[in-house]
Amino acid sequence: MNNPANEASLAGGPAKTHHHDVPHHESHDAHDEHDHYNPGFWSKYVFSTDHKMIGMQYLVTGLIFLFLGFVMVILMRYQLAYPGKQIPFVGLWLQDIVGKAFMPGGVMAPDFYNSLGAMHGTVMIFLGVVPVAFAAFGNYVVPLQIGAPDMSFPKLNMASYWSFFLGGVLMMASFFMPGGTAKGGWTSYAPLSVIGDMPGTLGIPMTWPIALTGQSIWLISMVFLITSSLLGSVNFITTIIQLRAPGMTWMRMPFFCWAMLVTAYILLLAFPPLEAAAVMQLMDRVFHTSFFSPDGLVVNGLPLAKSGGGSVLLWQHLFWFLGHPEVYVLILPGIGIVAEIISNNTRKPLWSYKSLVYSAVSVGILSFVVWAHHMYLTGMGQKVAAFFQTTTVLISVPSVIIVTALLISYWGGSIRFNTPMCFATAWLPMFGIGGLTGIPLAFNSIVLQLHDTYYVIGHFHYVVAPGTLFAIFAGIYYWFPKATGRKMSEFWGKIHFFGSLICMNGIFMPMFLQGMAGMHRRWYDGGASYELAKPVLHLNVAITMAAFGLMIFQLPFIWNFFSSIFIGKKCGDNPWNATTLEWNTPTPPPHGNFTKPVAAYRGPNEYSVPGAPRDFSPQWEPNI
């Protein structure tokens, strides 16, 4: 085998390249360098290229956005439960911020409801869950788990974060523009998104540039966010392919890394068509093209002054080509986190690790061929509908295999119910409910009844709210000791867990009932003016109460998170007695991660190996 260090020196460069395959020669050198690494404040905390700091930046920014998205939906929930009433405490204050047109007398106007709805979806998905579940955990954990000193392209990594940050700030800034934010939902369906938010409407001055109206800003900041995830996913895939430590073969890689690899592939290939679509919609808005404006479109009784010839369905296809894989972008990192925690706390290897890996990969591939099940009611023919029904039912197979394998992993384990494990355990039924309620939606005849009702809202929130969020919480409680050297409080953690579990179900379970009763998801008054919603109207109040409860039960988490940094119980390098490589680093890991050469000698979850001295056999310990 060629020694790269020598090849570099031969080519005229300094022989400084360190290499995993020659740990014995290089280890001292590597250690010295780590000691010399002493950046200033700005390059350490702000413009950092260290994957751990970037991961933490993503985590904090993402949690803030999750909170903002949550606040938005709380305001909406109040309007749904008590339509037309002044929002207590914050109503009049909001009137000052967003203007009289949107919050007249502290009461939410329909346009502002639409704004909040669009922003809740966008913020939660693109600015909250993806950055936390994928970027934060991925950045922090993946290089550690595969035994790499950093990501492959640290500078790209930094660019990825700042592109995300810019996109997020821009998105939030649109609240303060004339006319407010985008109002087209997170899906931004044409043609309403193209003709809405124009100068001359909603109090936007006629001279205001179209590029600075809410919907245009949504599109521009989506381009930033897509750029960010593109840079991130290129980096993740390259890192996982290139920087695995010696001995870390594909089938010795922790399942979390597999989940991240599949997620990164989905982001890489599914996002660009949406970027193309965003560019085209921006052209439609700013340069008045007709990509998504069909012939003969009439607005307010007047034919739209455009060439026409476009297709509204084209937008939906390009959007859902991303939109559906995006669901798996949200859930796969969660599955990865939960799998690590379940294996660790049942003190057992994951049941059928290989089938988990293959399932994750097949979910990733299948996720690209199911998107049109969001579009059954757009006049789709039977052949196509039959195809998408088949693929949609097919994709439930690997998903069920994943959940089943995780469930069977509990069998015969000596289970420790600490806070991360509580969240991971609750994740199983939550994701299960979310997944199983999705199966009816795979069939277009049932969708006739359920399309765009609260049933759909309940279904996908079970997947992405308790599903993804419980995994995120589990992950935070689980890896917090590695990042800070202190454990989070179990007491507050349990309160957070049980409160959240009850409230989450209190919010989303009644939605199934409302949805089956025919309640539409976009009613601004929560159905108060619709006869058919009368029997399920009282549930609106219950849901809103549960949402408030959920907010209150996040307070212990916020307290726990910040206080534990300073007063949490101190712990060693491997507080959970875990087996994967990240627990082999000093706590918190230094720049460059590993102080000594690292290699993987066995599979990722070798717990309770018969004959082993302890109930866990770490990957980094050679066989004796």
């Binding site: 020694n3 020598n6 090849e7 031969l10 369905l313 080509f321 061929v369 049109a372 789709m380 023919g381």
Partner: protein, 115 residues
Amino acid sequence: MSELTTHTAEVAEHAHDDAAHVAAHIKTYLAVGGILLVGTVITVLLSYVDFGSQGRNIIIAMIVATIKVGFVAAIFMHLNSEKSTIYRVIVMTIFFCIVLFALTGLAIFDPIHLK
């Protein structure tokens, strides 16, 4: 350290091979450049020939374009002798690109028949 010296010698030979290898390919690069220019002229000329329908002209032009692209990819982008990791990425991308075209096309051109 003797082990390292042998490595150095090996690497030196390897680098030398590399340069010779590249030098041998220069003629190929120029030839491909010529083929591409000729291909461009052919594309333009073929578009003036009426093959019976617009559709046939499009198909023929796309075949010529694909051949040209094939040359660029195989020779200029070294895909004629690349590593398997790259091939895997490309195959996957082409697959999903076809999915994007084919399924969207299917869905748009198989609407419900209202009768």
